[in-house]
Subunit: 112 residues, 2 copies
Amino acid sequence: MNFDKSLLSGSTRLLVLSVLERKDEYGWGIIQQLKERSDDTFDMREGTLYPVLHSLESDGMISSYEQDASAGRTRKYYHITDKGQRELARQKEQWEAFSGGVNRVIGQGAFA
Amino acid sequence: MNFDKSLLSGSTRLLVLSVLERKDEYGWGIIQQLKERSDDTFDMREGTLYPVLHSLESDGMISSYEQDASAGRTRKYYHITDKGQRELARQKEQWEAFSGGVNRVIGQGAFA
DNA sequence: TGACAAACCTCGATGTCCGAGGTATTATGT
DNA sequence: ACATAATACCTCGGACATCGAGGTTTGTCA
Protein backbone atom coordinates (compact mmCIF):
# COMPACT_ATOMS: atom_id res chain seq x y z
CA MET A 1 0.00 0.00 0.00
CA ASN A 2 1.34 3.40 -0.80
CA PHE A 3 0.02 6.50 0.76
CA ASP A 4 0.16 10.01 -0.05
CA LYS A 5 3.81 10.36 0.68
CA SER A 6 3.03 13.44 2.66
CA LEU A 7 1.16 11.49 5.29
CA LEU A 8 4.51 10.20 6.37
CA SER A 9 5.77 13.71 6.76
CA GLY A 10 6.90 14.52 10.23
CA SER A 11 6.64 10.98 11.46
CA THR A 12 9.85 9.61 10.04
CA ARG A 13 11.92 10.69 13.02
CA LEU A 14 9.39 9.13 15.35
CA LEU A 15 9.48 5.91 13.38
CA VAL A 16 13.27 5.71 13.20
CA LEU A 17 13.74 6.50 16.88
CA SER A 18 11.13 3.89 17.76
CA VAL A 19 13.10 1.21 15.96
CA LEU A 20 16.32 2.25 17.68
CA GLU A 21 14.64 2.32 21.07
CA ARG A 22 14.51 -1.44 20.91
CA LYS A 23 18.07 -2.11 19.88
CA ASP A 24 20.95 -0.73 17.88
CA GLU A 25 20.36 -1.08 14.18
CA TYR A 26 21.97 -0.13 10.87
CA GLY A 27 20.36 1.77 8.03
CA TRP A 28 19.34 -1.07 5.80
CA GLY A 29 18.11 -3.00 8.82
CA ILE A 30 15.92 -0.10 9.95
CA ILE A 31 14.10 -0.20 6.64
CA GLN A 32 13.51 -3.95 6.99
CA GLN A 33 12.30 -3.58 10.56
CA LEU A 34 9.85 -0.87 9.65
CA LYS A 35 8.43 -2.99 6.91
CA GLU A 36 8.17 -5.98 9.18
CA ARG A 37 6.89 -4.25 12.29
CA SER A 38 4.20 -2.40 10.37
CA ASP A 39 3.01 -5.52 8.54
CA ASP A 40 4.29 -4.21 5.21
CA THR A 41 2.58 -0.87 5.60
CA PHE A 42 5.79 1.12 5.49
CA ASP A 43 8.42 0.99 2.85
CA MET A 44 10.80 3.78 3.71
CA ARG A 45 13.12 4.81 0.89
CA GLU A 46 16.85 5.11 1.29
CA GLY A 47 16.72 8.63 -0.03
CA THR A 48 14.53 9.44 2.95
CA LEU A 49 16.26 7.42 5.63
CA TYR A 50 19.92 8.31 5.24
CA PRO A 51 19.47 12.07 5.41
CA VAL A 52 17.21 11.62 8.45
CA LEU A 53 19.81 9.45 10.13
CA HIS A 54 22.50 12.05 9.51
CA SER A 55 20.36 14.83 10.82
CA LEU A 56 19.39 12.87 13.93
CA GLU A 57 23.05 12.20 14.58
CA SER A 58 24.08 15.81 14.14
CA ASP A 59 21.31 16.75 16.56
CA GLY A 60 22.74 14.35 19.13
CA MET A 61 19.70 12.08 19.16
CA ILE A 62 21.65 9.04 18.01
CA SER A 63 25.29 7.99 17.79
CA SER A 64 26.96 5.61 15.37
CA TYR A 65 29.71 3.00 15.20
CA GLU A 66 30.91 0.70 12.47
CA GLN A 67 30.88 -3.04 12.75
CA ASP A 68 31.73 -5.83 10.33
CA ALA A 69 28.93 -8.19 9.44
CA SER A 70 29.48 -11.92 9.03
CA ALA A 71 30.74 -11.74 5.50
CA GLY A 72 33.13 -8.83 5.83
CA ARG A 73 30.61 -6.27 4.77
CA THR A 74 30.72 -3.20 7.00
CA ARG A 75 27.61 -1.91 8.65
CA LYS A 76 27.06 1.40 10.38
CA TYR A 77 25.06 0.88 13.52
CA TYR A 78 23.07 3.60 15.24
CA HIS A 79 22.38 3.86 18.96
CA ILE A 80 19.76 6.07 20.58
CA THR A 81 21.15 8.56 23.12
CA ASP A 82 19.49 9.88 26.28
CA LYS A 83 18.60 13.00 24.41
CA GLY A 84 17.09 10.83 21.71
CA GLN A 85 15.01 8.99 24.31
CA ARG A 86 13.58 12.25 25.54
CA GLU A 87 12.89 13.35 22.00
CA LEU A 88 11.16 10.07 21.29
CA ALA A 89 8.94 10.48 24.34
CA ARG A 90 7.96 13.96 23.18
CA GLN A 91 7.23 12.78 19.67
CA LYS A 92 5.08 9.93 20.95
CA GLU A 93 3.01 12.40 22.92
CA GLN A 94 2.58 14.56 19.85
CA TRP A 95 1.54 11.58 17.84
CA GLU A 96 -1.08 10.61 20.42
CA ALA A 97 -2.49 14.11 20.45
CA PHE A 98 -2.43 14.45 16.72
CA SER A 99 -3.93 11.10 15.82
CA GLY A 100 -6.51 11.52 18.55
CA GLY A 101 -7.51 14.82 17.02
CA VAL A 102 -7.81 13.37 13.55
CA ASN A 103 -9.90 10.50 14.84
CA ARG A 104 -12.25 12.85 16.64
CA VAL A 105 -12.69 14.94 13.50
CA ILE A 106 -13.23 12.12 11.05
CA GLY A 107 -15.30 10.12 13.50
CA GLN A 108 -18.00 12.77 13.54
CA GLY A 109 -19.27 12.15 10.06
CA ALA A 110 -22.57 12.94 8.36
CA PHE A 111 -24.53 10.79 10.78
CA ALA A 112 -22.86 11.76 14.03
CA MET B 1 -0.48 22.33 21.77
CA ASN B 2 1.44 22.87 18.59
CA PHE B 3 2.94 20.06 16.67
CA ASP B 4 5.57 19.72 14.22
CA LYS B 5 3.65 21.38 11.47
CA SER B 6 4.73 18.61 9.17
CA LEU B 7 2.65 16.06 11.04
CA LEU B 8 -0.32 17.78 9.56
CA SER B 9 1.07 17.27 6.13
CA GLY B 10 -1.12 15.18 3.93
CA SER B 11 -3.99 15.13 6.35
CA THR B 12 -5.37 18.57 5.66
CA ARG B 13 -7.49 17.39 2.77
CA LEU B 14 -8.85 14.58 4.89
CA LEU B 15 -9.66 17.01 7.66
CA VAL B 16 -11.32 19.57 5.42
CA LEU B 17 -13.40 16.98 3.58
CA SER B 18 -14.47 15.48 6.90
CA VAL B 19 -15.84 18.79 8.04
CA LEU B 20 -17.71 19.28 4.77
CA GLU B 21 -19.11 15.76 4.91
CA ARG B 22 -21.31 16.92 7.72
CA LYS B 23 -22.61 20.10 6.19
CA ASP B 24 -21.71 22.92 3.86
CA GLU B 25 -19.32 25.32 5.47
CA TYR B 26 -17.31 28.43 4.64
CA GLY B 27 -13.58 28.93 5.08
CA TRP B 28 -13.50 30.74 8.35
CA GLY B 29 -16.11 28.35 9.74
CA ILE B 30 -14.05 25.32 8.76
CA ILE B 31 -11.19 26.58 10.88
CA GLN B 32 -13.52 27.08 13.85
CA GLN B 33 -15.03 23.62 13.42
CA LEU B 34 -11.67 21.93 13.28
CA LYS B 35 -10.63 23.64 16.47
CA GLU B 36 -13.87 22.71 18.16
CA ARG B 37 -14.20 19.16 16.92
CA SER B 38 -10.63 18.30 17.82
CA ASP B 39 -10.90 19.78 21.32
CA ASP B 40 -8.49 22.59 20.45
CA THR B 41 -5.88 20.27 19.02
CA PHE B 42 -5.97 21.78 15.57
CA ASP B 43 -5.52 25.39 14.70
CA MET B 44 -5.35 25.46 10.94
CA ARG B 45 -3.93 28.64 9.46
CA GLU B 46 -5.65 30.60 6.75
CA GLY B 47 -2.54 30.44 4.64
CA THR B 48 -2.94 26.66 4.69
CA LEU B 49 -6.68 26.42 4.29
CA TYR B 50 -7.46 28.71 1.40
CA PRO B 51 -5.00 27.20 -1.07
CA VAL B 52 -6.26 23.73 -0.08
CA LEU B 53 -9.85 24.79 -0.64
CA HIS B 54 -8.99 26.15 -4.08
CA SER B 55 -7.15 23.04 -5.06
CA LEU B 56 -9.96 20.77 -3.83
CA GLU B 57 -12.38 22.80 -5.89
CA SER B 58 -10.29 22.70 -9.03
CA ASP B 59 -10.04 18.94 -8.57
CA GLY B 60 -13.81 18.71 -8.44
CA MET B 61 -13.94 17.44 -4.87
CA ILE B 62 -15.96 20.38 -3.63
CA SER B 63 -18.08 23.12 -5.18
CA SER B 64 -18.77 26.61 -3.91
CA TYR B 65 -21.52 29.19 -3.78
CA GLU B 66 -21.78 32.59 -2.17
CA GLN B 67 -24.32 33.44 0.43
CA ASP B 68 -24.94 36.49 2.54
CA ALA B 69 -24.64 36.09 6.26
CA SER B 70 -27.05 37.75 8.67
CA ALA B 71 -25.38 41.12 8.56
CA GLY B 72 -24.84 41.41 4.83
CA ARG B 73 -21.32 40.03 4.93
CA THR B 74 -20.74 37.57 2.12
CA ARG B 75 -19.55 34.07 2.81
CA LYS B 76 -18.29 31.51 0.35
CA TYR B 77 -19.73 28.14 1.22
CA TYR B 78 -18.24 24.86 0.09
CA HIS B 79 -20.17 21.69 -0.63
CA ILE B 80 -18.66 18.22 -0.99
CA THR B 81 -19.34 16.54 -4.34
CA ASP B 82 -19.81 12.84 -5.07
CA LYS B 83 -16.25 12.70 -6.24
CA GLY B 84 -15.22 14.33 -2.99
CA GLN B 85 -17.14 11.70 -1.03
CA ARG B 86 -15.27 8.94 -2.76
CA GLU B 87 -11.99 10.75 -2.19
CA LEU B 88 -12.86 11.13 1.47
CA ALA B 89 -13.56 7.42 1.80
CA ARG B 90 -10.19 6.63 0.24
CA GLN B 91 -8.38 9.04 2.49
CA LYS B 92 -10.03 7.62 5.56
CA GLU B 93 -8.82 4.17 4.58
CA GLN B 94 -5.33 5.49 4.10
CA TRP B 95 -5.43 7.17 7.45
CA GLU B 96 -6.53 3.93 9.14
CA ALA B 97 -3.70 2.01 7.52
CA PHE B 98 -1.14 4.66 8.21
CA SER B 99 -2.01 5.35 11.82
CA GLY B 100 -2.34 1.62 12.45
CA GLY B 101 1.16 1.14 11.11
CA VAL B 102 2.60 3.88 13.26
CA ASN B 103 0.90 2.47 16.34
CA ARG B 104 2.27 -0.97 15.67
CA VAL B 105 5.77 0.40 15.26
CA ILE B 106 5.82 2.65 18.29
CA GLY B 107 3.92 0.17 20.41
CA GLN B 108 6.73 -2.34 20.21
CA GLY B 109 9.15 -0.47 22.41
CA ALA B 110 12.18 -1.57 24.38
CA PHE B 111 10.16 -3.91 26.53
CA ALA B 112 7.96 -5.49 23.89
C1' DT C 1 -13.03 58.21 14.86
C1' DG C 2 -10.47 54.28 15.95
C1' DA C 3 -10.00 49.55 16.97
C1' DC C 4 -11.25 45.02 16.43
C1' DA C 5 -13.41 40.75 14.48
C1' DA C 6 -15.09 38.35 10.53
C1' DA C 7 -13.99 36.95 6.04
C1' DC C 8 -11.54 36.53 1.94
C1' DC C 9 -6.99 36.27 -0.49
C1' DT C 10 -1.60 35.70 -2.28
C1' DC C 11 3.31 35.21 -2.02
C1' DG C 12 7.71 33.53 -0.49
C1' DA C 13 10.61 31.02 2.79
C1' DT C 14 11.29 26.80 4.73
C1' DG C 15 11.32 22.04 5.28
C1' DT C 16 10.25 17.13 3.89
C1' DC C 17 10.26 13.17 0.88
C1' DC C 18 11.93 10.54 -2.67
C1' DG C 19 13.41 9.31 -7.51
C1' DA C 20 17.46 8.87 -9.72
C1' DG C 21 21.85 8.37 -9.66
C1' DG C 22 26.40 6.65 -7.79
C1' DT C 23 29.83 3.10 -5.34
C1' DA C 24 31.30 -1.42 -3.54
C1' DT C 25 30.88 -6.22 -1.95
C1' DT C 26 28.88 -10.83 -1.83
C1' DA C 27 25.58 -14.48 -3.32
C1' DT C 28 23.04 -16.92 -6.88
C1' DG C 29 22.00 -18.89 -11.16
C1' DT C 30 23.46 -20.46 -15.73
C1' DA D 1 33.17 -17.25 -16.16
C1' DC D 2 29.55 -13.97 -16.31
C1' DA D 3 25.43 -11.56 -15.38
C1' DT D 4 22.14 -10.42 -12.09
C1' DA D 5 20.37 -9.52 -7.74
C1' DA D 6 20.77 -8.39 -3.01
C1' DT D 7 23.14 -5.96 0.67
C1' DA D 8 24.82 -1.61 2.17
C1' DC D 9 26.27 2.96 2.02
C1' DC D 10 25.73 7.74 0.01
C1' DT D 11 24.17 12.66 -2.45
C1' DC D 12 21.61 15.78 -5.24
C1' DG D 13 17.65 18.12 -7.11
C1' DG D 14 12.79 18.45 -7.97
C1' DA D 15 8.27 18.42 -6.21
C1' DC D 16 5.15 19.58 -2.89
C1' DA D 17 3.05 21.20 1.68
C1' DT D 18 2.71 24.49 5.44
C1' DC D 19 2.47 28.89 7.22
C1' DG D 20 4.06 33.62 8.47
C1' DA D 21 3.39 37.90 6.81
C1' DG D 22 1.18 40.74 4.25
C1' DG D 23 -3.09 42.75 2.04
C1' DT D 24 -8.39 43.98 1.38
C1' DT D 25 -13.26 44.75 2.70
C1' DT D 26 -17.28 45.08 5.74
C1' DG D 27 -19.50 45.49 10.11
C1' DT D 28 -19.63 46.35 15.29
C1' DC D 29 -18.77 48.73 19.40
C1' DA D 30 -17.11 52.42 22.31
